[in-house]
């Protein structure tokens, strides 16, 4: 039949060709959606720790999927096995794809062997969010912490990831640090690999 509709229908979503990842939506669309996500979760919890946990769980799901997508599309299905490798993958590739730029800095913790920190002057998700005083140290960056945890966990580097505000002098808004604390087994494996 000539002139059948433009869109080819795929019965299985896995058969659809993978997009190049260049499509964009406006920042405000994302900001509105994120604000609704936070507001919905606020109605479901009683305290801040629960709220952070729920945002992190939402981010975890995103992270797991981002890892699969990027590994397949950008890295040709090769996976990272070394700690520094996966950290620089998160710091550069993941950040570049999700937020349009590489993260501001990646540091190793001085006090503990298993801690690493990714810092960002202003997280994209926090751009339009202001935290009321009575919510204390709550940080919507918990969503991003969840994304990082999702990526690391799915890549085989279990870790506890949290987001913190770090006040910087000379800057009105504090910068955000994502603190990554790797599990014991990751460090042991890393030591074995030499």
């Amino acid at each position: 039949m000539i002139g059948v509709g433009k869109i080819k229908q795929y019965s299985n979503v896995l058969d659809k060709p993978l997009s190049k990842g260049k499509q964009e939506v406006s920042l405000s669309a994302f900001a509105f959606l994120f604000s609704e996500l936070v507001q919905y979760n606020q109605t479901q919890v009683d305290n801040i720790a629960e709220l952070e946990r729920r945002l992190e769980d939402a981010g975890y799901a995103v992270g797991a999927r981002v890892l699969e997508l990027l590994c397949h599309r950008d890295k040709g299905n090769r996976r990272e096995t070394r700690l520094l490798g996966i950290l620089s993958f998160v710091h550069s590739t993941v950040w570049k794809v999700l937020f349009g730029k590489v993260a501001d800095s990646l540091e190793k913790g001085t006090e503990h062997e298993d801690e690493y920190m990714i810092s960002e002057k202003e997280l994209l998700v926090n751009r339009f969010i202001s935290i009321p005083k009575d919510m204390g140290t709550f940080n919507c960056g918990a969503f991003v912490a969840g994304i990082v945890r999702g990526v690391l966990d799915s890549a085989g580097f279990p870790a506890v990831v949290t987001a913190h505000f770090v006040p910087v002098e000379g800057q009105q808004r504090p910068r955000t640090t994502i603190l990554i604390k790797f599990a014991e087994e990751v460090l042991r494996r890393e030591a074995r690999l030499g």
Binding site: Q23, E24, V25, S26, L27, S28, A29, L37, V62, L98
Partner: protein, 186 residues
């Protein structure tokens, strides 16, 4: 200073800050998943998505009017065209088409070929009654309510349910005249 004419959807989209559509898609997916886990009933999730869309719509309209410089629409036909061509382009980066006007000019269909919300999505058998993109119907309803039009927005076609495009039916119920929140003589 002469008033600036309305800008096209492409021009505005090129000027706003943009983010990767995949972040948006995955965040929306995470939201729907959370709702499904919490509410469990597909109908409840549909309602909640519509409500979230409504909350977004009532704020989105301000940004839309500020950035797009559209003049007051003369009739509902123009309104629908503006939503499809300028509104969708400005926020989601895709254009929609308007069709299926009824005789009165109060009911039309907005058709989306491309929808950034549904990349990578497949509906499992347990969620067959779910309108995955129901947030969009809430957004349109909320935005139009803030400009004095009460509407009813329903899904006619949904690719996730097996159709070939996304079709939203927007029905104008009534035009509500603007009310001032204060009395003139007080």
């Amino acid at each position: 200073m002469a008033p600036v004419g309305p800008r096209s959807g492409d021009a505005i989209f090129a000027n706003v800050e943009r983010v990767n559509a995949e972040l948006f898609t995955l965040t929306y997916g995470a939201t729907v998943r959370q709702l499904l886990t919490d509410l469990e009933e597909v109908e409840e999730v549909n309602k909640q998505l519509d409500q979230m869309g409504y909350n977004i719509g009532i704020r989105l309209i301000d940004e839309f009017l500020a950035k797009s410089n559209v003049t007051r629409c003369v009739d509902f036909r123009e309104t629908a065209e503006v939503i499809a061509k300028v509104g969708f382009k400005m926020f989601l980066g895709v254009t929609a088409t308007v069709s299926n006007w009824d005789a009165d000019g109060t009911c039309c269909s907005i058709i989306l070929e491309d929808n950034p919300l549904v990349d990578f999505v497949e509906l499992p058998d347990t969620c067959q009654g779910l309108y995955y993109c129901n947030i969009l119907s809430g957004v349109i309803r909320g935005a139009l309510e803030m400009v004095s039009m009460k509407t009813e927005v329903t899904w006619i076609r949904d690719v996730l349910r097996g159709d070939d495009a996304y079709e939203l039916q927007v029905k104008l119920l009534k035009q509500v005249p603007e009310e001032y929140p204060y009395k003139d003589d007080e």
